[in-house]
């Protein structure tokens, strides 16, 4: 609204406005005095003031309307402005209304006091007295005229005309007119010689009055005269009009009485109109002043509220997160100080926010660092909250437990066990410890996972808050399976070596002794006994041979690795090995391999042995028309490339109770054999840096998976 953009200072504007209103009202008020010259312009002044009233009303109305709209839109500062304006209006209305009310009361009472019953009667009595006095005079003058008419009855017309002037002055009349029967002027005499015609018209009806006519009239608006018309009862039937002047003194008195009476009558008639007029003026005064004050109040209040409005807007901007916004300081008073303080506060908040941001970035960096650390640990780390629900778990834990633990965040270990029955043993083992231990604990747990039996070492600790309250726990899981397996293998190796060594020693003497016996005693015995001797010594030698062979195999197994690593194409090697078997067997061999299989660095001799052992096993498992399938693929796991070889047969498969132990030495289902075959295979594969396990997913027959690191 243009009202807020006034260029004049409000005080000057207010001064001008009030001066104008004062002037206008003063003029109108002066106009109410009848004597004033302004009374001619009263209606115009009333109109001007009325227009001013309407204009101010519109201005105030527009202001109210715009304020209401601002209030509805909940604009900043609108409620404060409304309150201040309402307060101001009430405060100004109250005394103004009281003053107005009492002024009106006084006004009406004053006007009423003018109209006294006694004054009324006095006026009427005065007028009646004047009228009575004049009536008396009129009757007296009429009698004089009648007497004159009587006197002239016998005179001739000529003599009357000649003596008219004389008769007139005798009577003391101002005019005397002789009229014919029809009312025509026959003669005329006046106290004023220049007059040639009667001053007053002679109404025909007045001629007809029997006793004569008498009346009072005024000539030229100021002189009172008594007019008499009498008939001269002569034969010609003439009439006389005689005008007698009313003495000046009486005339003046009568005039003044009449004037006063007229004024009083007028005023009596105008009583209500007077009340209305003065009430109107008073009301206009009230309304114009009030409206002007309210309009100026709007301007002033808007000015005062402006900085507050800015402040409110500023806080809204800040609430949206913009701390850089600075408010303009518009004045040097308390509000200006408020705005300055606000700006300072904003600067400080912005600074704190920046610090907090920086700190949180730091924390974020630390957290990321820790997470990276945890995720690259080979030990699994699982943290629990105060209710023993899983909070976090690192990648190693997922690998060790073969599950995605982030699906169980917020759930307990029991939920985990429900979903993964193979982990129930693990859960049982550590749950109690987790929930009841007060300090560090350690537990070995074994469970069967998808890749076989796993030995886990679980270590746990309780997390405490700085106040000493338990807030959760941490469990570190290490997969000891490989370590334990290695230990077992080492143990077995040691045993094997010792046994081999201890057993080997007596074997040769036994064999030699047996051969010696054969040699020495064969000639000395009869046929029957020589045959017995020969059979027995042969048995001894064969068996010793067998034992020697077994011991050799054992030694092989126990021997530390002898590896001559070469870069080998495994597919080629497989085909070479299979070539030996395809010719002599009816079993179907299938080799599937990728086109560009990476090379592996292995000892070809050892590798061949591995392949031989595996194929032999498979052959022994299947029937004559069985199938053996070897697949070679590239595997990418944990950023490492592997070559994976799988060998499957469609034989009876491995019994469930043997699957765990199949790579253990001396475990065999065959009637013949040392049971070392697979143990040696496993040893060699692991010496080459690879891994071998049973393929549990195969439904038909047995399957083995060998993985070797690719180049």
């Amino acid at each position: 609204m243009a009202l807020t953009k006034i260029k004049l200072p409000i005080s000057v504007l207010a001064l001008i406005l009030f001066s104008l209103i004062l002037l206008s009202l003063q003029l109108m008020s002066s106009a109410t005095q009848e004597s004033s010259r302004l009374s001619q312009m009263y209606s115009w002044l009333l109109l001007v003031n009325g227009v001013g009233f309407v204009a101010l009303l519109i201005l105030v109305g527009i202001n109210i309307y715009s304020l209401t709209r601002q209030l509805k839109k909940r604009e900043a500062g609108s409620r404060l402005t409304t309150r201040m304006v309402s307060l101001f209006v009430l405060l100004s209305l109250a005394p103004a209304t009281i003053v107005f009310y009492f002024s009106m009361q006084f006004l009406h009472k004053s006007i009423d006091s003018w109209f006294n019953v006694e004054i009324d009667r006095a006026m009427e009595d005065a007028l009646e007295l004047s009228q009575t006095s004049l009536d008396e005079r009129k009757r007296w003058q009429l009698r004089k005229s009648q007497q004159m008419a009587e006197k002239l009855r016998d005179k001739s017309e000529i003599s009357i005309i000649l003596d008219l002037e004389h008769y007139r002055s005798e009577l003391g009349a101002s005019e005397m007119t002789l009229l014919s029967r029809r009312g025509r002027v026959k003669a005329f005499g006046s106290i004023n010689p220049s007059e040639i015609l009667p001053s007053l018209p002679i109404e025909p009806i007045r001629l007809k009055m029997r006793e004569g006519y008498v009346g009072i009239d005024s000539i030229r608006d100021d002189e009172l005269v008594i007019q008499t018309v009498v008939a001269i009862k002569s034969e010609q039937k003439q009439y006389l009009q005689i005008l007698y002047p009313v003495p000046v003194r009486i005339a003046d008195l009568a005039d003044s009485v009449e004037f006063a009476f007229v004024r009083f009558q007028e005023t009596t008639f105008l009583r209500d109109s007077l009340k209305i007029t003065f009430s109107l003026v008073l009301s206009l005064v009230l309304l114009l002043s009030l409206l002007a004050a309210i309009w100026v109040a709007f301007l002033i209040i808007r000015n005062i509220v402006a900085p507050i409005k800015e402040l409110v807007k500023g806080t809204q901007i800040v609430a949206e997160g913009n701390y850089e916004h600075q408010l303009p300081v518009m004045s040097q008073d308390d509000l200006g100080f408020l705005v300055k303080s606000f700006n300072e506060m904003m600067t400080r908040i912005a600074g704190s926010r920046d610090e907090a941001r920086f700190a949180s970035l730091e924390v974020e960096n630390q957290r990321t660092y820790l997470e990276t650390l945890l995720s690259s640990l080979t030990s699994g780390v699982i943290s629990f909250d105060a209710d023993f629900k899983i909070r976090t778990a690192n990648q190693a834990a997922n690998v060790i437990l073969h599950t995605r633990l982030h699906r169980f965040y917020g759930k307990t270990l029991l939920d985990l066990a429900q979903q993964h029955s193979d982990l129930s043993g693990f859960v049982d083992a550590i749950k109690a410890l987790l929930e009841q231990s007060e300090d560090v604990w350690q537990q070995s747990v074994a469970f069967s996972g998808p890749s076989g039996r796993q030995e886990l070492l679980c270590r746990g600790t309780v997390l405490y808050s700085p106040e000493g309250k338990r807030i959760g726990g941490v469990v570190v899981i290490d997969d000891m399976t490989d370590l334990i397996q290695a230990q077992k293998n080492a143990a077995w190796g040691e045993v094997a070596r010792r046994l081999a060594h201890e057993i080997k020693n007596p074997l040769t003497p036994i064999q030699l002794s047996a051969e010696r016996l054969q040699l020495k005693l064969a000639d000395h015995l009869d046929e029957k006994n020589a045959a017995i001797l020969e059979r027995s010594t042969r048995t001894i030698v064969n068996q010793v041979d067998a034992m020697k062979k077994m011991v050799s195999e054992f030694s092989e197994y126990a021997k530390p690795a002898q590896n001559q690593g070469e870069n080998i194409d495994l597919a080629k090697l497989v085909k070479e090995v299979l070539a030996l078997y395809t010719l002599q067997s009816t079993v179907k061999f299938k080799v599937i391999h990728e086109e560009s299989l990476p090379l592996v660095r292995v000892d070809p001799v050892n590798m061949r042995q591995v392949l031989h052992n595996l194929v032999k096993n498979a052959l022994e498992a299947v029937a004559a028309n069985g199938e053996i399938t070897i697949k070679l693929v590239t595997i990418n796991e944990r950023n490492t490339k592997f070559v994976q070889l799988t060998i499957h047969d469609n034989g009876p498969g491995i019994a469930a109770e043997y699957i765990e132990k199949v790579f253990d030495p001396y475990v065999t289902t065959k009637t013949k054999g040392t049971g070392l075959g697979l143990a040696i295979v496993k040893k060699i594969v692991e010496e080459q840096g690879g891994a071998i396990w049973v393929d549990r997913k195969t439904t038909l027959g047995a399957g083995f998976i060998v993985r070797l690191p690719a180049l």
Binding site: S43, G61, I62, S130, E258, I276
Partner: protein, 190 residues
């Protein structure tokens, strides 16, 4: 819009202000021009008119309380024109005042323009006499150039500004003070 609504209330407010019941009388009082004619006599156009003054009860009461009532008799002569609005050739007015003389107990009718005063005992005769306009010299004949295309308009206008000050604002709104006639037009020459 609130401001607009307030605007409509103002006349109502003002009349409320004046605390006058806006009684509407059934139009029994008015001022009517019974007939009017301009005669040509002695090189002059003279006005003869008969006016019927029917005063409202309030006006009668005012008169009896010695308040003067003033009427302006306004005569305009127009010349018809084809392409513009009609040209006003003459604007003539005459003022009559009637008042009650309490001392003499007579009604006084004064032609304010000429100064002529007549007195009557009854209000009716005074009003009747005031309504008889005879031989009022309006304009010289040679001043009217185009009498065939000219026409006259007569209106008897009640002068509210001549009323006492307190009555003036009221008289604009009260129907009892609607004492003016309508314009009566007639061609100058038949």
């Amino acid at each position: 819009m609130n401001g607009y609504k307030k605007l409509n209330l103002i006349p109502a407010v003002i009349s409320l202000f004046l605390l006058l019941p806006t009684q509407v009388y059934a139009g029994k009082f008015d001022t009517r021009i019974k007939n009017a004619v301009l005669i040509q006599e002695n090189d002059w156009y003279k006005l003869n008119a008969d006016i019927d003054f029917n005063l409202s009860p309030l006006a009668v009461d005012a008169l009896q309380h010695s308040i003067s009532l003033v009427w302006n008799i306004r005569l305009k002569l127009y010349q018809q024109r084809a392409y513009f609005w009609d040209k006003k050739v003459l604007d003539f007015s005459l003022t009559y005042r009637i008042r009650y003389h309490a001392l003499l107990k007579m009604y006084q009718v004064k032609n304010v323009t000429s100064g002529e005063v007549r007195r009557f005992f009854s209000q009716a005769s005074a009003l009747k006499a005031m309504g008889e306009i005879r031989n009022v010299m309006v304009v010289q004949q040679d001043k009217i150039l185009n009498p065939e295309n000219s026409y006259a308009a007569l209106k008897i206008q009640f002068d509210r500004e001549a009323l006492p000050l307190p009555l003036r604002p009221v008289s604009y709104f009260d129907s009892q003070w609607q004492l003016s006639s309508d314009w009566l037009q007639w061609p100058l020459q038949k």
